[in-house]
């Protein structure tokens, strides 16, 4: 059974999520699903499809690189931490100084999507810096 068959439901979720630049390629024993999502919901739908097959999310024969991208500056983002506050840092690194915090559920404003994992944001109080993108829902 090819990886495309094994992960057919994930591929089909990616196709119906309206991703841009979607590519599905099998290479050296890994199925790569790459694309750009316009919202967190679209990205999540692909990952949920994987969860239905691999409930522990530990498969390494599939690589899903679906990033929320192309968001306009000024877009509203919701802080989606588990419980704690989201650190806002001076530089895009966990080593950088914390310049502010945003509470779970708080709505912040996007300044720019600096990279896949770090986005520059601004809080309602005017605190500006880099936050880890995993904890921001678009």
């Amino acid at each position: 059974m090819s990886l495309q068959d094994k992960y057919a439901s994930v591929v089909s979720a990616a196709q119906s999520a309206g991703l841009s630049d979607l590519s599905v390629q099998e290479q050296d024993g890994v199925l790569y699903i790459t694309g750009k999502a316009s919202s967190s919901a679209a990205k999540d739908s692909v990952w949920n499809a994987l969860g239905a097959i691999d409930s522990s999310y530990t498969a390494t024969d599939i690589n899903i690189d679906v990033q929320v991208s192309g968001l306009a500056a000024g877009a509203s983002l919701t802080v989606a931490t588990d419980e704690s506050n989201l650190n806002i840092r001076q530089e895009p690194s966990t080593e950088a100084a914390v310049v502010g915090k945003a509470a779970k559920g708080e709505v912040v404003t996007l300044v720019e999507q600096s990279s896949d994992d770090w986005w520059k944001i601004k809080t309602a109080d005017g605190e500006e810096g880099y936050a880890y993108a995993r904890y921001l829902k678009a």
């Binding site: 522990s56 966990t94 995993r134």
Partner: protein
């Protein structure tokens, strides 16, 4: 003797009729048979004119195209196959990153808020170990997959 001759004549007639029947297969009928022969290849089509098949469209691979041509040649009544089809350009290979200090740093950033999971570079292969929840394992995979490092070793146990 007479009877044998009669049977032979009948057999000859039947076979001749069969041959003449084959010749009468219309282009429309051949087109239909030919189309059935290449249904496995979406985006392609075939038309038969005066017994000559004209294959067109875009095949995923050269091997697929050759297989379609061979299948068409097997259709009785098709005299020749004219290959007017093309092959889609091969997709650029996925760029796989090697595990270096920068990649490891990004993995560790991703693991910062996920207690119990560790990342190590074991002989050039990123190896994840530890025990965590499915939700956290998903966060780890989302972050690691974004780095596109090819095959890695995921030994995370989900409780």
């Amino acid at each position: 003797m007479k009877k044998t001759f009669k049977i032979a004549a009948l057999a000859l007639m039947v076979s001749m009729t069969a041959v003449s029947c084959k010749k009468k297969v219309s282009d429309a009928e051949l087109t239909s048979q030919a189309t059935t022969a290449i249904t496995a290849y979406p985006g392609t089509s075939v038309e038969v004119k005066e017994g000559q098949a004209h294959l067109s469209g875009v095949f995923a691979t050269e091997a697929d195209k050759q297989a379609a041509i061979d299948a068409l040649k097997k259709v009785q009544g098709i005299k020749d196959v004219h290959d007017m089809a093309t092959v889609a350009p091969a997709a650029a290979p996925v760029e796989v990153n090697t595990v270096d200090a920068a990649v490891l740093q990004k993995v560790n950033d991703a693991l910062k808020d996920i207690p119990g999971v560790k990342a190590e570079d074991v002989a050039g292969t990123l190896t994840l170990t530890g025990t965590t929840t499915a939700a956290n394992a998903r966060k780890v995979k989302e972050s690691v997959d974004a780095l596109k490092i090819g095959k890695y070793d995921n030994k995370i146990t989900v409780k």
